[in-house]
Subunit: 167 residues, 3 copies
């Protein structure tokens, strides 16, 4: 496995602005199944373009422990493959101590359901993605789309889109 | 899998500040086992609140290749489920070429131990999480806690809490 | 699993700068196999040091859905272990609906190949890593190196190195 690879390099942004700017918008989605991949790219693009921040970055952040943010391709058959991969990795019907409510001493609430698998899937996915902002737009690659990934029983989910930068 | 979901949208922060501000604090923890989930949320909150940065983001960063940063729920039985998931994914007693010290030509040090499993677990977890800062506070959701995850033999671990923003 | 661990805390950076600064550079690499771990640390360091930004953060971002950015150790035998872990997690020769081109209705292009495994591996790795910048340098730990991870058939890959900060 040879490690020396020559890079081609190009400057794509350079900004010194008189002010630091931050815009944060919350987006809320009603999910319908699990695992479910909800393509939120257009909403995220809208927030970034309305923000008027020319250079910097945008973090897309899920405020949940059983709903993740990921970037991948929006091809319907692939979404089924990724859903199956998640189910195989941590099957809903496997044994999770977290689902044994008789032993739980903390964090029991009326909303609680057997969701150990969703937490274990979330551990390997993550709560956020961070993408550069260039010329006022999110710098996604050709096939990249931003997904809110529902892992648990469907409900209202809250995503923060936080643009930090200059200009 | 239907992809069109209507979002509800709400502005939660908007700041133009006369200066960009950055505060970075290092936190060090003595770990005791592996996999071990150390809840560092209160320390991270303390750094953010002391920083006096009103809007922006905070990155929590592990300076290690066998200790990760993740956000999940702090429920003791769930932490056992997640530890078991990690052990099953890359078992300590499986075969790793990295553990064959007789073949190693680089990166051997006095501290070295058979930790191929810890590196492979870390590959799927990651070194950092990035969370928005709103009104001077880290914008964690109700059940979200920040964990330093020890994957290797216990030792002193160093976490950087880097707040970048305005105001 | 005891959760109360006392942290040692130390301030490593504190900056109030008259301007927010953003520098974004694109790096391009020709990959040669999969999974392939390309150590791009020296190039990333070069971008950060040339940027002249004293404090803030750098995000290293892959503009692809089958090439990831990860931080781990550059030890040749370990890179083989991690490659094997990825192949075992989502084997190239397993069944993926995404590879059934006769059923595909969107996102078919001349470049298309059977890469369902690469997307499923990418789902668990991620598109970016974010690292603090301190005193004008990327704050990597002793053993940390930044890798572009090729998961699909070899080609030209584009990585954005986005430095956001003050000073």
């Amino acid at each position: 496995m040879e490690q020396i690879v020559e890079a081609r390099r190009e400057t794509v942004a350079r900004a010194d602005a008189p002010a630091a700017r931050v815009i944060c918008e919350a987006l809320e989605y009603e999910t319908t199944s699990a695992p479910e991949f909800i393509d939120i790219t257009d909403d995220v693009m809208g927030v970034v373009e309305a923000a008027g921040i020319q250079f910097g970055q945008v973090s897309i952040y899920s405020q949940h422990t059983t709903a993740a943010i990921k970037i991948n391709e929006n091809e319907p058959l692939l979404l089924r493959d990724m859903a199956r991969t998640l189910r195989n990795f941590a099957p809903p019907n496997a044994y999770y101590e977290h689902n044994d409510f008789s032993r739980r001493t903390v964090n029991m609430n009326e909303d609680e359901c057997a969701n150990g698998h969703a937490h274990c899937q979330h551990l390997f996915l993550g709560a956020s993605e961070t993408v550069p902002v260039i010329d006022g737009r999110i710098a996604l690659g050709t096939w990249q789309r931003v997904f809110l990934v529902e892992l648990d029983h469907p409900r209202m989910r809250r995503v923060l889109v936080n643009v930090v930068g200059a200009g």
